[in-house]
Structures are given as structure tokens and as C-alpha cells.
Subunit: 405 residues, 4 copies
């Protein structure tokens, strides 16, 4: 019988995820990691795709699973990966999202303004490293790209990293949107290391093409679906409005959770033990609970947004290729202000516009390198492949307009 502790976890996406190293066990068992159970991976997308209620914890376990497969594959092709590096790169991917707050990207920069989730992730990793007696040091070096083996970092953060590979696969699985299915297993089999960099074998070109197109499709069909966009913008506006009117004398605005610390202005932008502890105590339940409370708040802009979001009476949203005329915005704001008997400024929380951008593939900044049997290496956009060359590398910008119906 095996001497090492070993656990398998059922995953509807990949079948089984195996955990067989003490460090991985210890990370998963930590309350900071367990908190990710209470954060939706796709924020408000479930209002359109009812199956999309999976969590950040599930996603990061999935990315870890793909990393296990990638390491096995690369080693079988002769890549030099020591046992220590093996566990470090797995620990790093497991922790890559540890800094996400409630409703992740939808509230990014809203609860702790100006602080990107990767900064928080890093702060929390350092804290965890202390708890785990320095066993995360190599993982952190790989995560921050300070380690000399570049390809290990690329497995965690690049065009074809395990993060994207899992979220596309998982999000398309749970939404049921078949357009987002990628052949992750085939791409993994096509990976190799050459000149210290992660590359794809020549015969994997079509799989990479498929991957890039699937990503594009998920953006327009799911992540930037007009109803999802409306709901997530409403969530942002709720937090903005609550912050604007927050007062310690207003009992109704109080949330009885760490949200108060972030909304009241008590948090001054410094990342320290105290603020990190506060941040790590928040999850989706606190925000949902607050929204339920605020749905009865006397401030009409706030309570309207909260009630509407709870009952899925979302703001009407239009998306188009050109910017919206400012006069339309003004006209709607005036109407809403009149209807609800609020100021035009307050109405701007219920009537607003903005832009959504998506670039599928960014040659230059983040390349996908193709390795040819001949020994040559080409950036995928240089390969004779019109689909990626001409089209996918152009950013697509669209404009949205949301208003109370």
C-alpha cells in the first residue's frame, strides 16, 4: 500500500483530480484557500446561464489538474523539471487566484480601489508562506517570474497557461455553451520546452487556432453577453453608491462584515496584516447579504439597484459598434430622475454607458510560439494562417448602454 497520503476528487469536467503531496494538501486545507469556495467563478453570469455557479476553488483545482498533466507531458519529452520545481509550479497555479475578492472580476478595483487582484494574491501568498515555513518560496519566485526557468512561469501566466486553459474549458462546461469548448487535452499533448520557453508542436496549430477562436466566442457570447454585462455593471454601481453614501451614523447601510471596513474609508490602501485579514474574511455571501439589506435602504438609487438585481429585473442593456450619443444618455437620465423623483446625479447610477474591449490574440506582448520539425520557431501570427494573422489580432471594441427599463 502507498505510504503517501493520497486523495482523489471527483470533477465533472476532468473526471478525477489527484492530490498526492503534503504541500498541496496543506494549501488546500488552509482557510484562505477554502474561502474560494464562497466566491463564484463567473460572478453574475448565472443570471443568464443558470449552471454557471461554479467557484474559484473549483477553477483553481482544475488548473492544478491541468498543470499535473502538463508537467507529466513535458517531462516525457525530456524537459528538465525537478521534483521541487514540480510541486512549486503546482502550488503556484493553485494559488494564482487566491487574491480574488467577492464576485471576483466583477468587483475588482471596487472594494479595494486601485489594488489589482494579483497584488493581493502575492500578499496572501507571502502570508501563507510564513504559515507554511517557507515552503512556498520557490512557488512565489515562479509566480513572479524571478526564477530562471521561464517556461515554468509561462505555464502559470501566458497565452496558453493552465489558468486560461481551465477557465475556458470549465466556463463552457458549466454554462453549456459548446462554442467555448477547446481541445485542452490535445493542446497539452502538443506542448514542449525549447530554449527555456513553452512552445507548441507544429501539428498543434489547428488546436491553438481553435483555442483562440473559442476564447473570442466566449467573450462575446458569455462574458460580455449584454444581460451578464448589465448585471455586473449593476453590482459595481451598487458598491459605488454604497461607498458614496456610506456613513457610520447610517445604521441601514451597515453590513456587519468586513465590507464596512472597505466602504467606510477606514481602509487607506495600505496592504498590511490587518487589511489583508479583513480582505480575506469577505466572500460572495457578505455582498449578497448586503444587497438584501440595502434593498430596503431609503436611498432610492441604491435600493432600486439592489431590488432589481436580486429579483433579476435587470437594467435594459444595448450593445453596438459605435459610441452612444451623450444626448440619449442625458434624456434617459432625466426620465428616470423624474420617474423615481431623484436627482439626475443619482439617476446616473441607473443610466450609464461605457465600452467593452476584447483582443483575442496580442502579437508582440504575449506570443504563442510554434516549433517546427525542422527546428524552426515561429510566432503563430507569422505562420501562413490567415485566420489568426489578419483577424484575431485586431482588438474588438464595443459600446454598451444600460438604463432602467
Amino acid at each position: 500500500m502507498p505510504s503517501t497520503k493520497r486523495k482523489i476528487i471527483n470533477d465533472p469536467v476532468y473526471g478525477f483530480i489527484t492530490i498526492n503531496h503534503p504541500l498541496i494538501f496543506d494549501i488546500i486545507a488552509h482557510p484562505y484557500y477554502q474561502r474560494l469556495r464562497r466566491i463564484h467563478q463567473m460572478a453574475m453570469a448565472h443570471l443568464v446561464y443558470p449552471g454557471a455557479v461554479h467557484t474559484r476553488l473549483h477553477h483553481s483545482l482544475g488548473a492544478y489538474h491541468l498543470m499535473c498533466q502538463a508537467v507529466t507531458e513535458l517531462r516525457s519529452k525530456g524537459a528538465d523539471i525537478s521534483d521541487e520545481e514540480d510541486v512549486a509550479v503546482k502550488a503556484a497555479i493553485l494559488l494564482h487566484d487566491i487574491g480574488h475578492g467577492p464576485f471576483s472580476h466583477a468587483l475588482e478595483n471596487r472594494l479595494a480601489p486601485g489594488i489589482h487582484h494579483e497584488v493581493l494574491s502575492l500578499g496572501i501568498m507571502h502570508e501563507l508562506n510564513r504559515c507554511l515555513d517557507g515552503r512556498l518560496t520557490l512557488a512565489i519566485d515562479i509566480f513572479t517570474n524571478k526564477y530562471h526557468k521561464l517556461f515554468l512561469h509561462q505555464l502559470i501566466s501566458s497565452q496558453l497557461d493552465m489558468d486560461r486553459m481551465d477557465y475556458l474549458t470549465r466556463d463552457s462546461f458549466f454554462t453549456g455553451v459548446s462554442e467555448g469548448v477547446i481541445g485542452y487535452d490535445r493542446i497539452l499533448k502538443m506542448l514542449l520546452v525549447h530554449n527555456n520557453e513553452l512552445m507548441v508542436e507544429e501539428k498543434g496549430i489547428y488546436s491553438v487556432e481553435k483555442f483562440l477562436i473559442a476564447r473570442r466566442q466566449m467573450y462575446w457570447q458569455v462574458y460580455l453577453h449584454k444581460t451578464v454585462l448589465s448585471a455586473e455593471k449593476m453590482l459595481k454601481k451598487i458598491i459605488e453608491r454604497a461607498r458614496d453614501i456610506y456613513s457610520t451614523e447610517d445604521a441601514c447601510i451597515r453590513t456587519y462584515s468586513a465590507l464596512d471596513y472597505f466602504l467606510s474609508g477606514e481602509f487607506d490602501g495600505t496592504i498590511n496584516a490587518h487589511s489583508m485579514e479583513a480582505f480575506c474574511s469577505m466572500d460572495d455571501a457578505d455582498v449578497t447579504f448586503a444587497i438584501k439589506r440595502w434593498s430596503k435602504h431609503p436611498d432610492i438609487a441604491l435600493s432600486t439597484l439592489c431590488t432589481s438585481l436580486l429579483n433579476r429585473k435587470l437594467l435594459r442593456c444595448v450593445i453596438q459598434g459605435e459610441p452612444f450619443d451623450e444626448t440619449i444618455l442625458t434624456k434617459h437620465r432625466q426620465e428616470v430622475a423624474a420617474k423615481l423623483e431623484i436627482s439626475e446625479n443619482d439617476a446616473s447610477y441607473l443610466v450609464f454607458a461605457g465600452e467593452a474591449v476584447n483582443t483575442t490574440y496580442n502579437p508582440g506582448t504575449e506570443d504563442i510560439n510554434i516549433y517546427f520539425k525542422s527546428g524552426a520557431v515561429k510566432n503563430i501570427s507569422q505562420v501562413d494562417n490567415p485566420l489568426i494573422h489578419q483577424t484575431l489580432s485586431t482588438p474588438v471594441k464595443k459600446f454598451y448602454f444600460c438604463t432602467l427599463a
Copy 2:
């Protein structure tokens, strides 16, 4: 172009769910129905099966979808179902779980003691019926089995109803437990109406056998998995303890939600507009929020349970075929009491035992009738089929014991 409003919803389990009747739209749009988005279908099972975070809303939409298929199938075989009955039976299945509270079965009888969720469902249906100008009257008659076409009721509540068909399919999909997969589509194709009752064609016997065995397997492998059981018992104990020590003077026990109404004793068991309104304002977020608050409550039994559940440091659970010896229970209670410096009575929230029963198939009370080409009808347990006859109809009782590790 179609004149009727028509909507399709992506479902990873069935592909697409179509909604094309105003009444179905109106039910789904109602806040009471939208509340089901915030109630997990499988309570705490996601602590073992991370994918199992799907909601009651998703399940009831799925059951509705199967009902659509069942009606089409039965009509194609000549069953007499009018358009009015068609929409009524669909409305009824959509609403069959409307009375579930936070964490559904795991907290059943705990928040509103002595009141079964089907009673609440019925109360809420009557309330909705008022809002919807009596358009639910036939649906309610079918739900309560007062309508003369028995088979319509059986589609909603019987051994082979759309509820079970969906929850087995959906729960096995989201947990990734392939042992629970049933051939729901084949069973649907085998249904027929004979003598006003729902039956299964002879050549569907193996599919029914598979269905019964899948149910048995889901019970032992998932629903009564020792870790899931431990977590759900802890949840029950948390509510019990909170109720026991609840005092309006204790600011720390207060939850700032309708939970207070049910825990404080203000709710006297009467189902009326007020209590139903309170009930319908609760969801999983309130309980999760309360648990987070209580994890810092001075009562050690309560805070220990809450902290442990939040961080997935669950009570150790053992399951066996015979009852546990009372002396073991006592011994563990004394140890825990000593360790935490609490009374033995308080320790009983952290050390307890009980029994779990599962009967796969209950001949007599709820029959599955098989229709033979010859015109004969037999109860499935009378068919020459040793698997169901001898085995599945015996109830299986097991005993559990949970204790602080």
C-alpha cells in the same frame, strides 16, 4: 416570425430548455421563484464534490424540461392531455420545490420546526395563485392530487416523477459521479398512460432497473457520504444551538435577517402572510452570513461548529451497520467537554450519533407499473427480475457517529 414570446436557456445537462408560455414566464420572473437561485440543490455536498453547487432554480427548470418531453411523448402515444392541462402540469413541476428554505433538506424542520417543505410549497403556490389571477388553480389541483387524471399527478410525484428523474441526472452530472447516471431519455420514451395511470413499456424494464440502482448508489456514495453527512449534521446542530441560546439581548447572536424571526421564537408555527413573507426572504446567504458571524460568538459550542464548517475542518464521522455503543458517545463527549472546557451537554453538539435509512424501492406504497404488449400490467417487483424483487425493496439502515477530531 413567431408571435409568442419564446426563450431558450442553456443547460449543460440537457442542452437547451425552451420557455414558450406566458404563465411559465410569469412564474419564473416572480421573486419567489428567483429566490431559488440562492439555495443550493445539494446543501453541503460541494464540500466533497466541488462541482455540486447547482441551485434549486436550476433543478426545477430541469424538471420542467423533462416534463415538456414527457407530455410530448405521452401525447404522441395518444394520451389525452389538453393544452390547459399541459401548461398546468408544467407549472406544477416548476413550483414543486418553491417551499424549500436555506440549504433545503439539510435544514428542513430546523428553521420552521414541524413544517414540511411541501406544506410551505403549497402555501406559497396559493399566494402566487393570487398574484397570477388564479391561473395556477389547475396546477395546484394536480399537485395536491385532487384532479381526476391521476397520471398528471404521478408525473409530479411518484417513483418515476420528473423531480427524481432530474435530480438524479443533475446531481450525478454536477458531482461527476458516473454511478448515478440514469438513462432519463430512454425512460421518458418508455412512459405511457394506461387506465389513467403512468406506466412503463415492457422493454423499458432494464432502464427502470438502472434507475433504481443509480438512486441506491447516489444515496450511499453521495447523499449519505460520511463527509457530506458530517457537514450537514453540523449545519443542523448550528441552527439548533443558535436557537437554544438565542436571546434578543445578545447582539452577537443577531443575524439581521428573517432568521431572527425564526430563531427567536417569534414564529409560532402559524402559516400566514407574514410568516410566509419572512420565510420567502431567507436563502443560503443569510445562513452563511450568520455562520460567519457566529464563528466569533462567545458560546464555544456554537463558534467551534461554525469555524469548523467554514474552514472545512469537519467533525470526524464513522458509519457502520450496527448502532454505536452509548458508552463510546459518553466517553467522547467527556473528552471534548474537558478539552474545550464546556459542559457535557454543550459537548453533545459536537459529539452525536444517529441513523440513516435508504429504501431504493418500496413495493406497496409507490409502485412502478410495467405495461406488457399482451395488455397485462404488473408491478415491477412482480416481474421475474431478481435484482429488484429480492434486493432493492429491502430498506438499508446504517448508523453514524460524529465527533470533534
Copy 3:
């Protein structure tokens, strides 16, 4: 119980296919249709993708199933389709491939030179129509686009017909090439009839984009995979060589099947009862049997091709973007001629080159029309959609070169 005969067929791709009309039963039961069981859908693709052994019968049943769904969908949106048209369009799709000969497209124009499979299909349909007392007349009118409801013909033959929808879905299923998966169910839900034409709803644009790209990917990754291409060209060359050297005095070339009629020159290109009977008596088994026999034929070119194909020692194949230099071809022919001690002309059966073309989307000849909520109709290439506009409508031509290794 139902009065009509009704049958369900298990299909791993769609679940269950339902047959419930006497005409459909009678078509399927006919020996001409049953013959399609013995013809591979994907000719030699199984030499690369071992699962790709599905048959023309299975494909046409699948296309029939999609037609059932399409008709239901279109009717639910108000399209005017009578019961007679319903069964006719289903019969037509069931029969659309009835004229395929052994190894379908791979031997097209080789066994009966100059005669396209759709001409044969039509001839066989007329013959079947006689057997079935004229019950196929409307189906034939729709098939040949003589019926006034254009959209019925488009369901059978257009960019988005049920034929393509099924073969992409089915071929990607049986090959296991996930890149070819299309969201057929979503496209079906987006179809509608407007101005007597088949169109796609605006919100189906991304699904159509996915469909076109999946087709492109299947072409390059599967249908024109260099090894598949090599095997199918070898098959062609085998038949060509056998025809060239066929002599009624050569006992070894004789195949003891209707192949003899087509190879010997007895068939003079006339389609009549006799030639059609002969054609319909052939299937893959005859050709495979002939190849096994010919693998021992004294003609070296023929026996080399046959032995190599049987044992999967295929000709080496190179594919590139530019034409191959004639001198390379000559050089290889001379080498092979010398090695096998045959003439250069004979060696040309073992060393040859050619071109493979694929256009994903052909604006002008076959349009995909998008119906906008506003009532506007646009060709998909006119929609602001750079992926289809710029790229997919350009034909891609590649060049292959095959030679004995």
C-alpha cells in the same frame, strides 16, 4: 396505447432517433437503403482515426433526426409546413445519399466515371418511387428544387442543411476531433423561415461562425489529413489501374461482383434499370474483397498498391502551399520504376501529385442569411464580422505529393 407503429433507435450522437411514419419505415426497410450499412461514411479516414468507421446509413438517419427537430422548431415559429410536406422533406433527407457507391466520395467518378452521386441518387429515388407507389413524388420535387417552398429544399441542400449539420457533428464525434464540434442544437433553435427562405436569427451569428470554422478545421485536420489523403488517393489509383489492365481473359483481375461490370467497360454510361441494379449491388465489401485478391495479382503496380493499403504501409505524403516541381515527381518515378522494375508509366500509380481545395464559405453562390429583429436581412458576410468577412470566404488551395517510401 398508440395505434401507429413507432420505433426508437439508439444513436450515440443524439440519444434516440424516433421513426413514426409508414413511409419512413418503408424506405428504411428497402434493400437499397440497407445497402448504406455497408458503405463507410468516411472512406479511409479510419486509418488515422480508428473510430471513424460509421456508415452512410447512420449518417442519413442522423440527418433525418435533425430534420425532425428542424421541422418542429420552424413550425413552432409559425412556418407553414403541412403534414405531407413534413414527411416528404424527411424522406428526401433520408435518401439524399442513396446514390453513394463503395467508399463514397473517395471513389466518386471512378467506378462510374462522369456520373455524380446526386444523379445516381435521383435515379434510385425514381426507382424507389415506383416501388412505393408514387409516395416519394413530393420528396423528389423538394430534392430537385422544383417545389415552390424554397426553404424545404434549403433544409436538404444549402450551407446550413441537415446533411452538413449531421456529418460535421457525426464525423467529429466518431473521430474524436473536438475541433469539429458544432452547436447543432443551438443553430437549429435559431432557424426561421422568412420570405420563403431559411434564415438564422441575429443571436445565432456566433453559432454560425463556429459552424464555418469547425468545417474549415475538419477539412484540414481530418478530411484532407495527409495520411487520409494518401490512403484515399491510393484507393483511386487501385481502381484506375485495375480498369486500365482489366481483361476478361485475366482470371486474377476478376472480382466476382458487379465491379466487373463497371471495370470491364461493359457499363457504357447509360443509366437504366440494369446499370442501376448493378450499381446498387456494390458496397465496400466488394472493393475490399477485390483489393485483397489483387494484392496477389502479377501486375506490380496494382499488387503494391493493394498490399500497402491493406497493411497500412501508405505512400508517403507531403502537403505544402505551393505546387511541387515536376522534376521531383519525375525523379521519384524513376527511382520507384528502377526499384520495382516497372515502367515509368506504371510507377506513376505510385508517385503522383495534385491539389486539394477548400472554401469554407462561398458568398454569392450559397448564402447564409441573418434575420435581424429590426426585420432586416443580411448575408452573413455583410455583417460586421471580420472573421467571416475577410478570411473564411477565401478558398484555400494546397498541394500534395505522394510517393512510395
Copy 4:
């Protein structure tokens, strides 16, 4: 880049199958192995399940893939498997079906009477071993259970061997019969080696239960489906009849393939180079070709069987729990004899009866051992598990009766 040759094969069932050892390459490239491409895995089952046209080659590749996973799993749990044993056990499973003839089990004992396919497999393995310079010696020792590590043999031949695991999974995949789906990946994860034997971990009990029930269901629903049974019995009768009337003077009975050698009596039961060569030159195409020829043979019994099978006008088949009365058989034979103007003896090829037996689990002969955490080992039928204990170990015998309709 990797130095070793490495190939991946798309498999719709498992995703990708990796081949990375020269011996495995050489086996697969051999004509004896390639012949398995032309033998259906499920004989005539495709007449009921049109997708079931997969081949013996595909099945043995799949079993090889599962073996790769099993070895990885067992090694990770500390099982002692050397690199030489690793490749040997994989070679052995790849070759386990090499001795199957045309239509495998359906014609077993018919073409080469009295010779089981495992004897032929062994003969062919020895022949291959000569071609491959003795590199198969260890594989053969494991296959014939002469090697001291019993568990390696058990991976190839036992209740839970990779053969059964693959054929259940693959057959249920290609038929689309969800009742046969087993959790092969979970069972593999539960395997371990203890006392030199293959065992299953305690928590894998339900997966094994599921496996046994799935097998039972596949038998009754697919393998012994009355229509499949009818077709396969017809195939047997065709060969029997052809052998009975075979005469070298009858030009019409001649098949122009090695079938002649086996039907004419030239084969005397001796396994030698010549007979094995003849055997290995046969595949499904020869038998199909012969049936097509014989459908025009003057012998009425033979031509009736052949025409009926080709056109899927199968003998009517009844299955019941008790033996059929001999008088019914006689009565039908007389009717058929009169109708076709043939002798009663000849009619017995068109009217016949027999029995079909299936035991799901055979305690005693082939045990499944469960390893408990406590260190104890129990046969699964001794575990407190009524489903397997009481029911599955009883053989089920049914009786069939086939007659010309």
C-alpha cells in the same frame, strides 16, 4: 525535443491514446494486427445499434490505453513493475484478441471448429514473437499465466481486466446504451496490488457493483438482444449450411478466399504455419462477400438466410424464461418446409431454438478481492452487500426460438 518516437491517436472514448515504445509500434504495424481493422467488435449488433461498427483493432488499442493508466496507478501506489514488465503487459493486452476471426464471437468455433480464439491468439503470438526476435516472450508468459507476478496476468484476464473494462465502456459508447456505462476511471484509481494479487480499495465497492450491474445490463439489453441474437444465429447457420453443402464441384459455393480452405474440409484441425496463414488472411469482408454471392445460390435454405441477413429481414425471435416446446419447433419447421418447398431438415436452418446464459459474477472461479483499510481482504460476495451477494452470482438462463416470419 524527445528522442523516442511518439504517436498519439484520437479516440472518441478516451480522448488520446499515446504510443511511445518501439515494441508497441512494431506490433501495431504488423499485418496480423492491422487485420483487426476489418473485424467488427460486435459482429451483427449494428443491425440494432447502428453506431456499433467499431473494430477489434479499436478495442484492443483501448484496452492498451487502460493498461497504461493501470500501470501508472499501481506504480504510484508502490507496486513493483519493472520497465520490461510494463511493456510486456501492454504488448500482451494489445494482442489478447489477435486470434479472432471474421465476426469474432459470432462465428467462433464455426470456421475452425473446436478451436477457441485464445488458442489461435497464442499461436499467432508465437508466430509474431519469431518475427519480432523474441521480444514478446515475457508478454506471452504473462498472457499464459506462467509468470510469477500473478497480478500482471490478472490485468489481462480476470473479472476486472482491461479487456472487460474497455469492451463495456466502448460497446456502451458506440451503441449509445447508457445503461452499460461503467466508471472505468474510478475503478482504475481504486486498484492496488496486495499479496501479488490485484485488488480493489474498500471505497471502490460501489464502483465494482456498478461495473457488475452494467455488464448484466449489456448482456440482456445488447449482446443478447433478441434481434442481435437472431442475426448472429443466422450468420452461424449460414456458415453451417455452406459447410454442409460445400463441394469443390459447385462453382456457386466457392468464395475465392481462405474461407474455401476452412469450409471444404481441407483444414484438418492442425494449427501450423499454413493453417494459421490461411486463418489470418480472413476478415469480415470475406464473409460478407460470400454471403452476397450465396444470396444467389440455388440452395434455398442458404440463399434465404443470406438474402434475409443482407436486407435485414431477420428471422423472428422470441426469448422466454422456459424452454420451448419441441412440438412448436416441429410445427414451424413443417410450415416453412411447405412454404419454401424444402425438406424439414433444410427448414431446420430457418427454424431453431437454443439457450442463452449469463452469470454476472462467479464467486469461486473468478473472485474480486476488496482490500480494507484495516488490512483485511474479502471476496466481494462476502462483503455485506446484498446486491452482489444474493443476486448477481446466480446465473440467468433464457431460451430463444427463431423462425422465418
